[in-house]
């Protein structure tokens, strides 16, 4: 468990330093597409979460926010 937390912390710290990575604001055409969102279909994701929560011992994990068109 300590190893998991260590790994998670390292990943988050690494990514927080990702200030040089990415695209310009006008280059987000592909990222803005529906099929490029992290959750493409909310109901499908909720259905799968519910089925696997009922039949397995693990659940969730999926996050939210980020990607997309980056507008406003």
């Amino acid at each position: 468990m300590r190893r998991t937390i260590g790994l998670a912390a390292a990943t988050l710290l690494f990514c927080a330093g990702c200030s040089s990575m990415g695209v310009e604001p006008w280059e987000r055409d592909i990222l803005a597409k529906d099929e490029m969102q992290l959750t493409t279909d909310e109901i499908e994701a909720a259905t799968d979460d519910h089925i696997y929560f009922s039949k397995e011992a693990s659940s969730g994990g999926r996050g939210f926010g980020g990607g997309g068109c980056g507008c406003n």
Partner: protein, 431 residues
């Protein structure tokens, strides 16, 4: 490159001249209005084989947009569940009679058949509501509540999440929590753990309505890597507190040869079964990573999750979706998911009579050591009235095993672990 741009700017300037000289014709002011409401609906069928669980479900999510990227989301799901589920008792070479969880009747399972408890006809209604709005220039907040009800289970929950963008919105840091307060009202009352299954009508070892709380916290980072690739990494922490036992599941009490001990007190169940017992606390940690990669119109969605908890369950999940456009208005999306988990520390196939009772024990296959694979295909298309429809068909298969050290005597020859085979069919319509 530069000449082409020069031409287009020049052409624009020329056009501007035309407009300024009054030779242009003004276009109508009315533009297409953005639709305020967005609906996502689905019909789902989930069916396990061998007379096991079948679920029919209708879901709808309605989203209403308010000025400047504010959203109200309302969700409703209605499920109808039927079918039977393994009770935790093991097969025997003789018929077995059990008392139903309600305590009102008994049922008999033929020799050699895996005992299934079919007290599983239920309707569940689940509601959710959420509000999302921007905060300042670079942040987003989402707050919500959820509730669900079925005859023996009630859930209430609240949740909130916050996300903030950095690096020209290439990086997003997010944090969220969900708190649930659930209460159980098991048919017949919750049995005292590790006490025997009694005769029909005898509820002396039953207590009232237990409850449990669950707190989930998630931290995440999303990073745009390139024009075609976005990735996300999350860490989740979950803490469950309260009644975590399944009130309907039992374990067979077995003798030295691994056979279930017959019940000597009559009337009552044919053999001795003890109600299961789980700890009243569970802490889970998960890390999750996801990537979405666009290559020439096709999108690969790949994710991995590792979960570990203080019940000593470890799991790995790999989930892959590959969307392939088909023509201008439709797509195919194959799906493959691999899952593996190790058994809970207190998982055991049966309880040997010769040893002192453990503190916790469960034969629930869902806490055992198994691998699962899902393979499916989704087909989606744009309808004539410019809405979206989709159909997906998936097959889910679980195959598990009981740790060798737990198999006693005659149990060795039998198929002890209830494998699961299910099909999932879902039809979706978004408009």
């Amino acid at each position: 490159m530069s000449r082409k741009e020069n031409r287009s700017i020049s052409a624009a300037l020329a056009a501007a001249t035309c407009t300024l000289l009054g030779s242009g014709v003004p276009a109508p002011v009315d533009a297409q209005e953005e639709p305020l409401w967005d609906f996502n609906t689905s019909l789902l069928y989930y069916g396990e084989d061998d007379d096991r669980v079948k679920d029919y479900s209708v879901s709808a999510i309605a989203r209403r947009m308010f000025v400047d990227d504010r959203y109200l989301t309302l969700g409703l799901t209605v499920d109808g569940l039927t079918g039977a589920t393994p009770s935790g008792a093991i097969r025997q070479d003789v018929p077995q009679t059990f008392t139903r969880p309600s305590g009102n009747a008994a049922y008999t399972v033929p020799a050699g058949v895996l005992p299934l408890d079919d007290t599983f006809k239920d309707t569940r209604v689940a509601l959710s509501a959420g509000w999302q709005q921007p905060v300042g220039e670079t942040s987003l907040i989402n707050v919500g509540a959820s509730a669900s009800k079925e005859y023996d289970y009630t859930h209430f929950g609240v949740n909130a999440k916050f996300a903030r963008d950095f690096n020209q919105r290439n990086t997003t840091l997010s944090a969220g929590f969900a708190y649930s307060f659930d209460s159980l009202d098991p048919v017949g009352g919750a049995p005292t753990p590790l006490t025997p299954m009694l005769d029909v009508g005898d509820t002396s070892n039953r207590t009232g309505n237990p409850d449990k709380d669950v707190l989930d916290i998630i931290f995440g980072v999303t990073q745009v890597i390139s024009r075609n690739l976005v990735v996300q990494a999350n860490y989740s922490y979950s803490m469950s507190d309260g009644y975590l036992t399944d009130p309907y599941k039992v374990l067979s009490l077995v003798d030295a040869s691994g056979d279930t001990l017959p019940q000597t007190l009559t009337p009552g169940p044919s053999h001795q079964y003890l109600f299961e017992s789980r700890p009243d606390e569970r802490t889970k940690h998960s890390i999750y990573g996801q990537a979405k990669y666009f290559m020439n119109g096709k999108v690969l969605d790949a994710s991995y999750r590792y979960m570990t908890d203080d019940w000593e369950i470890d799991s790995h999940t790999v989930d892959l979706h590959y969307r392939i456009p088909f023509g201008a208005d439709s797509y195919f999306e194959p799906h493959l998911r691999f899952y593996t988990q190790s058994e809970a520390e207190f998982y055991q196939l049966s309880i040997p009579d010769s040893q002192p009772l453990p503190s916790f024990a469960s034969a629930d296959y869902r806490l055992g050591d198994f691998d699962a694979i899902t393979a499916g295909l989704k087909y989606g298309w744009r309808t004539r009235n410019d809405n979206e429809m989709s159909v997906r068909v998936e097959a889910y298969r679980q195959t598990g095993s009981v740790p060798a050290g737990q198999i006693i005597g005659n149990q060795a020859g039998r198929d002890n672990y209830p494998d699961l085979n299910a099909i999932i069919v879902q039809v979706g319509y978004r408009f």
